[in-house]
Symmetry: C2
Subunit: 216 residues, 2 copies
């Protein structure tokens, strides 16, 4: 494996993500990706076997890098208000990088392509694992800890972000409106954390009551 090869494979991975981000999986043909990478089209098949496998490789690598990027910031979080700050930061950077858009596109393609399905599962698992760990810690210290399952919330948050990014492609203003509401909901949660002991006890009791009604 010469250094030229490394370069070519890397160029292809980068280009693959760029094309998926800007034109969707539907527009991510071998020719389009090769053109973006300024690399010969046949090399996609030589190095990766198929277009789907190239996209998978690119996604896997990008997800690992992205998650690693935030690991330190995440480990520092131990309250809902902390999490809010970090989350806003992560969202800003990820929107810039367009990685959620890519993930949404891969998930959409997963419906008809098993290789993309594997890539999608891997990407989402990487994010939710990370978010799950933080949420476990944060929820343990919150009055809501007994009511909400960390893993479930991690999956929900990831799915919601993905949905919003998808939305963004068709209707940017509305998508921004949706995202703004997450911050308002966070306000409510933070407010709950800030309640006095009497109110918190009342809330926990009321929620446990409702919970019994809906799960029972």
């Amino acid at each position: 494996m010469t250094s030229r090869t490394v370069d070519t494979k890397a160029r292809l991975r980068t280009a693959a993500l760029a094309v998926v981000r800007e034109r969707g999986v539907g527009g991510a043909s071998a020719r389009a990706i090769a053109a973006a990478a300024e690399v010969n089209q046949a090399l996609i098949f030589y190095h990766f076997g198929s277009v789907s496998e190239l996209i998978e490789a690119a996604s896997d690598e990008a997800v690992e890098a992205r998650v690693r990027l935030y690991r330190d910031a995440f480990t520092g979080v131990d309250s809902l208000s902390d999490l809010l700050v970090v989350a806003r930061q992560v969202h800003e950077q990820e929107r810039q990088a367009g990685s959620m858009t890519v993930m949404a596109q891969i998930m959409a393609g997963a419906q008809s392509d098993p290789v993309l399905a594997r890539a999608g599962r891997h990407a989402l698992a990487a994010w939710t694992d990370e978010v799950d760990q933080v949420l476990r810690r944060v929820l343990a210290a919150s009055p809501l800890g007994s009511l909400i399952d960390g893993a479930g919330l991690a999956h929900l948050v990831s799915a919601a972000f993905m949905g919003i990014e998808l939305y963004h492609g068709a209707d940017p203003e509305s998508a921004d409106l949706a995202f703004g509401t997450i911050e308002r909901l966070n306000d409510v949660l933070s407010a709950i954390e800030g309640l006095g002991p009497a109110s918190q006890r009342a809330l926990r009791l009321a929620a446990a009551h409702v919970n019994k009604r809906t799960t029972g």
Copy 2:
């Protein structure tokens, strides 16, 4: 326009949605749709002009029908707990019908296809308009009314549902886990509605304080 025509157009619309649901936009070719409809492939172009326009027509019609289906149930809702009951019902039926999956697929295709983008905007707007009206009413009667914007929440909920359905295609168990968490969050919101006046006042104050900090 003979009755045979009506039948053919309707068959094509139905088949288009079925194929998009089961194989994604990527798999929704003219040939695949025509085969599913047991109709000649050329008729797609004769009746609708292009595959995208067929999908758009099918989506538009389906969305109207679906929204109309729930209109009565929605108008009856005037509390968060009511909404919870109706929402669970709607979700169950919509998941069966697969209409959110179709919407997610259309949104994904919107990235590279202006006609699908128009269809996506239309579909999401129809749902959010409906949900918005309910939320406005419900939030007005809730202690959270002053904190959360109805329209924004309607968009967020729609986007989250879409994300979960997308997720469902690649990893069904995890997607179900995510959806279950929505119910737990609803428990918390319902619990807030059930708080005594003192706790509610404390919460409103705390939230307003946080809100000032984050929006200010």
